[in-house]
């Protein structure tokens, strides 16, 4: 009996340790990366202008929290607005495409055009159209993220199980019922997958636009630092940007784990094979 209890306790402790390890794994990954960088710079004696030590860059961020907070908020706001705008427009367009072959044929070339469009070249035009408002940056972030969202939404809405689709049709379910009760839940894994890619793309879009069109945001601080050789500020902007990206992706993962508890990807995460 006591042997069984001991074994059960051991298993519980091992499970707890595993959970804790998984929780701190991202932190450990980042720490290993930063330590390797620090060691490399110290050992190689590389000049700070070429590559500063991460401890110096982090020190700069800690010394100027208000500066990074202010500019980081601008970038985050613009990137988020572009991300969500792209998401909603993409789901709307994919919905039209999945319900009408005409719409699908008419829209596909537009998707390809947006995908191959050199958005950076259009930035001066955005400035002419929208002035120094947040809109050029939001539109840029949106254009960077729209294509992955629309292609994944289309695949998710389309790839419903044939038997389940027939089951819905066998009771004459309406298009709306098939859409809302079958297609939308089915597309969620695809949308989350696209979302993870699009977080980085939205931040990149906002920063690129800020680089040229803004007096605020991390793109602007990086641009100023670049033109004045403020290496610590340049790398500080990059690290804050990366931190924002990682935090949002981790948040997205947490939401995904809650919402997609039913999906095989989460079963593997929650109950990994021994």
């Amino acid at each position: 009996m006591s042997k069984t209890n001991h074994s059960a306790r051991l298993t519980t402790n091992m499970q707890r340790a595993r959970k804790l390890l998984l929780l701190i794994a991202p932190l450990m990954g980042v720490t290993v990366f930063l330590v390797s960088w620090e060691v490399y710079v110290r050992v190689s004696g590389i000049r700070p202008l070429i590559l500063p030590r991460p401890s110096v860059v982090i020190g700069h961020i800690v010394e100027h929290p208000a500066f990074y907070w202010k500019h980081g908020s601008f970038t985050l706001l613009e990137a988020s607005a572009g991300f969500f705008l792209a998401f909603f427009v993409a789901v709307f367009v994919a919905t039209l495409m999945v319900h009408s072959e005409f719409m699908q044929r008419a829209t596909m070339p537009v998707v390809v055009i947006v995908q191959s469009m050199p958005v950076v070249v259009l930035l001066p035009l955005f400035l002419l159209w929208f002035g120094f408002s947040p809109w050029p940056k939001i539109i840029t972030a949106m254009l960077f993220t729209w294509v992955p969202f629309v292609t994944n939404a289309l695949t998710g809405l389309r790839s419903v199980d044939t038997s389940t689709h027939e089951l819905f049709k066998s009771v004459n379910a309406t298009r709306w019922e098939i859409y809302w009760r079958l297609r939308i839940p089915n597309s969620l894994p695809y949308l989350f997958s696209a979302g993870r890619v699009c977080v980085g793309l939205a931040l990149m879009g906002a920063v690129v636009a800020e680089f040229f069109l803004s007096k605020d945001g991390l793109g602007h601080t990086a641009y100023v630092a670049y033109s004045r050789l403020l290496v610590e500020q340049l790398w500080g902007s990059v690290i804050v940007l990366a931190f924002m990206g990682v935090t949002i992706v981790l948040l997205l993962n947490a939401v995904e784990q809650k919402m997609l508890y039913w999906h095989p990807s989460q079963h593997e995460r929650n109950h990994p094979a021994k």
Partner: protein
Amino acid sequence: MAESSLVLTDVSKSFQHRDGFIHALSKVSFNVRKAEFVSVIGPSGCGKSTLLRLINGLRTPDSGSIVVNGLTPDEARQQKKFAFVPQNPALLPWLTVQQNVSLLNNLNSRAGNPGMAFSDQRQLLKRIGLGSFLNAHPWELSGGLQQRVCIARAFALKAPVLLMDEPFSSLDEITRTDMGYLLLKLWEHSGSTVLFVTHSIPEAVALSDRVVVLTPRPGHVTEIIPVPLSRPRQVSMEDSTAYHQTLTEVRATIAAECSS
């Protein structure tokens, strides 16, 4: 003679394929009486599943007619007169067992067939051994339990016609036999008409009142064989002479068609 629930007259269906036309069914005719259990059996590709899709109006026949309780397949589908049981359970993984069973009842509410009340659905699930799985999700259940949910979902709709497309084909032999007799138990209380497509001759004979044998493609009815076993059916009847004679007759009919 009891009134017919399904009447098929000279039903034919072809499909366009890149290499030409595929004649799936050719002049299929048979009737199914109300509250009768009829199996359709035949070699692979003889159009058994196509036949179900024509009956429930998901496909349109090239020629011939189908009447379901005096209605066209489209009208019957619009009024939720069918409960369709596909080959795989087709359960929604994001819904619980109870929600999956209610699913068809909640769709197309204008049809005027609300199906079984919520409390009756729970009773039904308890009766078939799913009482402790009401809030479980399909991925937490074995293949056999998932199929039970699938069958409960069909009966919860209280549709007069059940169309079943090889529902037990993915199950092991023991579970398959259990499921067959569970189906009979539920059907005997429901009074619905069942058209059951299967590959298994023993299953067809054990469950049905009559077995419709289709020829290889293009499928047409070669023989309709009555099963002289009384109701309610018991597993022990599978040892009877009548069972074995019918089994032999169905097997011989299929073999003769395949060899010709």
